[in-house]
């Protein structure tokens, strides 16, 4: 894969399409796309990590829950993540270690407030590698 993700703009919201050789990589790139909306990832260093474990009723819900968990950690704890190691992923369960640092207003320019990941136009396409599409409310 040449690129990790694309940003798709809608009138009031913003969508992402993330790519990967497999679903774990696509989920990781979706997370990277999310944080690229929030700030410039080049300015973010890997100084801490956080382990996340999630369960959800199905794969699509798992994708939304994964991204919403990251939005929560950003909003509640002020952490920007830039790299994601998904160590376990099946239809209903995800385990990941996410690396990043706390927001520093002198170092990080915050661009867009992301309210949530939505189920609208949500897609997981596993033909020829993996491609996932998510729409965020911003």
């Amino acid at each position: 894969m040449e690129k990790d993700f694309d940003i798709v703009n809608h009138t009031a919201d913003v969508g992402i399409i993330a790519y990967g050789a497999d679903i774990s990589q696509a989920f990781a790139n979706a997370a990277k796309a999310l944080f690229s909306l929030i700030t410039e990832l080049d300015d973010v260093e890997e100084v801490l990590y956080q382990d996340i474990e999630l369960t959800a009723p199905d794969e699509k819900s798992l994708l939304v829950e994964w991204l919403n968990e990251l939005i929560y950690l950003f909003d509640a704890d002020g952490i920007i993540f830039k790299r994601f190691d998904i160590t376990e992923l099946n239809n209903t369960r995800l385990k990941a270690r996410s690396y990043g640092e706390r927001v520093d207003s002198l170092k990080h320019r915050l661009k867009t407030g992301v309210k949530a990941a939505t189920y609208h136009m949500l897609k997981i396409d596993k033909d020829n590698g993996c491609k996932v599409q998510v729409l965020f409310d911003i």
């Binding site: 703009n9 009723p57 699509k60 509640a76 867009t112 309210k115 949530a116 189920y119 729409l135 911003i138």
Partner: protein
């Protein structure tokens, strides 16, 4: 060549367009868009017809799936959508309220005139910007612990007024008197509470703002007088914000939870973001109890901001609040679900009215509006974009008959944030606004371009349609002279 939508919609009159129930299999009721013909092409292009039709799938929906003229493409529900469901056998959908629960608008009056404020506008805007936390990641100056947050969630703005943030009279001129009943903090996740604690008393980012504005047109002077607006040139203060991360988390939590309820109750939906549960089910009741908490959080948030706005005026003009006459005109919610009664087929029905980007618009004499507005109707506050104007209107009987007591809520986006940013630079937007006599202070210069006039429908066109269609009527217009944004 006729536009593609022409074959689908039935024109009722110049401002009403019906999407027939036959448009999509599974619709329980027809759709109705309040719009001008010239707006319909854009509404069609961004697929909002489809969204109005999808909402008509909701079990127990009555009347029609409605769209206000500021409709734009949302996720699941369109923004500018109104849907009423029977509580006895219908559903409630968190997506029909949106992530920013009780995003809304508060309007304060002053005794000041443009002539008095203009010379001090730079100082005033700077003071407001310093005094009111705004922008992404900002924290409020008011500190609440977990127990106090629960009190905010159950008591609403009354709690913070008792702490000295505002006047007892503020509650009277507030939708639901600033406190939605049925709020239960036990139905709110600890995540939502964790996000909510530091963000209380913050304006936020995106399209949220505080605006110092000047009345430049009065259409109904008797009604304007009843609201304390006497003259052209009078200065008002408009506050637009909502329930911040607290509301976002409540919505996320319940969309996930109700996604499961959809399976449990065997509900067939065309879009998962429309996730819902019967109003009377445990899941539906829990959502309404959590939503009420978020609504109360938002009213408290606007109460804090109004208090700091008043403080800023007192400081800059060296006058007391009484001398400044900074009374609250009204406060309305734009994103909310309410239990209300309407006649359906000659019988009174209790309905769950979802307003997502729509304003309640109750007429004169309605029992739920304050005494001082009994003779004129409920004030409807409609903000525009930064560069144009905002409107004060009133609810009507027509709204009760046709739109479940609802009207439009604002301008409605026509351009994505990225497109606006590509075509405009924040610095240029600030210069253009300055040339038009509008002083702006924003946390992020990029947000200025995103929220520029060009990105929005003209609010005047939107408000004129609701006025001509009769679902609200105009009272006055105001233009901004100072704006703070996140």
């Amino acid at each position: 060549m006729p536009a593609p939508w022409q074959e689908i919609v039935n024109k009722i009159d110049d401002y009403r367009w019906e999407i027939p129930q036959s448009y999509k299999q599974g619709m329980s009721v027809p759709g109705l868009i309040f719009a001008s013909e010239s707006m319909l092409s854009h509404i069609w292009e961004e697929n909002a017809f489809q969204q109005v039709a999808n909402v008509a799938f909701l079990p127990g929906i009555v009347g029609r799936s409605l769209a206000m003229p500021d409709i734009h493409w949302g996720y699941g529900f369109p923004i500018g959508g109104v849907a009423a469901t029977r509580i006895k056998d219908g559903v409630v959908s968190p997506g029909g309220v949106g992530f920013d629960i009780n995003c809304g608008v508060r309007l304060l009056r002053t005794n000041l005139t443009e002539e008095e404020v203009r010379p001090k506008i730079e100082q005033l805007v700077a003071e407001l910007f310093t005094n009111i936390p705004s922008g992404l990641g900002s924290k409020g100056k008011i500190r609440v612990n977990k127990k106090e947050l629960d009190e905010v969630l159950t008591k609403g703005s009354r709690w913070v007024i008792e702490k000295g943030y505002g006047e007892a009279e503020d509650i009277v001129v507030n939708e639901e008197e600033g406190c939605m009943k049925g709020a239960n903090p036990d139905k709110v996740s600890s995540k939502a509470k964790k996000r909510g604690i530091p963000q209380l008393g913050t304006l936020g980012s995106g399209n949220h703002f505080l605006e110092v504005e000047v009345v430049d047109e009065i259409y109904d002077s008797d009604a304007a007088t009843a609201m304390g607006i006497s003259d052209i040139g009078q200065v008002l203060v408009l506050i637009h914000t909502g329930s911040r991360g607290f509301g976002h988390q409540v919505c996320s939590d319940y969309v996930a939870l109700l996604g499961e309820a959809v399976k449990k109750y065997g509900i067939n939906l065309p879009d998962r973001q429309l996730a819902c549960a019967p109003v009377k089910s445990p899941e539906g009741r829990d959502y309404l109890a959590a939503m009420a908490c978020a609504a109360n959080y938002a009213w408290t948030n606007r109460q804090c901001i109004a208090h700091w706005a008043r403080e800023s005026f007192v400081k800059v003009f060296g006058k007391s609040l009484r001398e400044l006459g900074m009374e609250q005109i009204y406060d309305v919610a734009h994103n909310i679900a309410k239990i209300e009664e309407y006649p359906i087929g000659g019988k009174k029905e209790t309905l769950c009215v979802h307003r997502k980007g729509a304003t309640r618009a109750f007429p004169a004499g309605h029992p739920d509006i304050p005494n001082i507005y009994k003779n004129i109707g409920q004030p409807v506050l409609i903000p525009g974009d930064m560069g144009r104007c905002s409107y004060i209107a009133l609810g009507t009987e027509t709204a009760m008959k046709e739109s479940f007591g609802s009207t439009c809520h604002g301008a409605g986006r026509v351009q994505s944030r990225a497109a606006a940013k590509r075509s405009l630079r924040g610095a240029d937007v600030a210069r253009t606004l300055a040339a038009r006599g509008i002083t702006v202070k924003a946390g992020s210069i990029g947000s200025l371009a995103e929220e520029a006039s060009e990105a929005y429908k003209d609010v005047t066109e939107v408000v004129d349609i609701t006025h001509k269609a009769g679902i609200s009527r105009k009272v006055a217009r105001a233009i901004p002279i100072g704006v703070i944004k996140g």
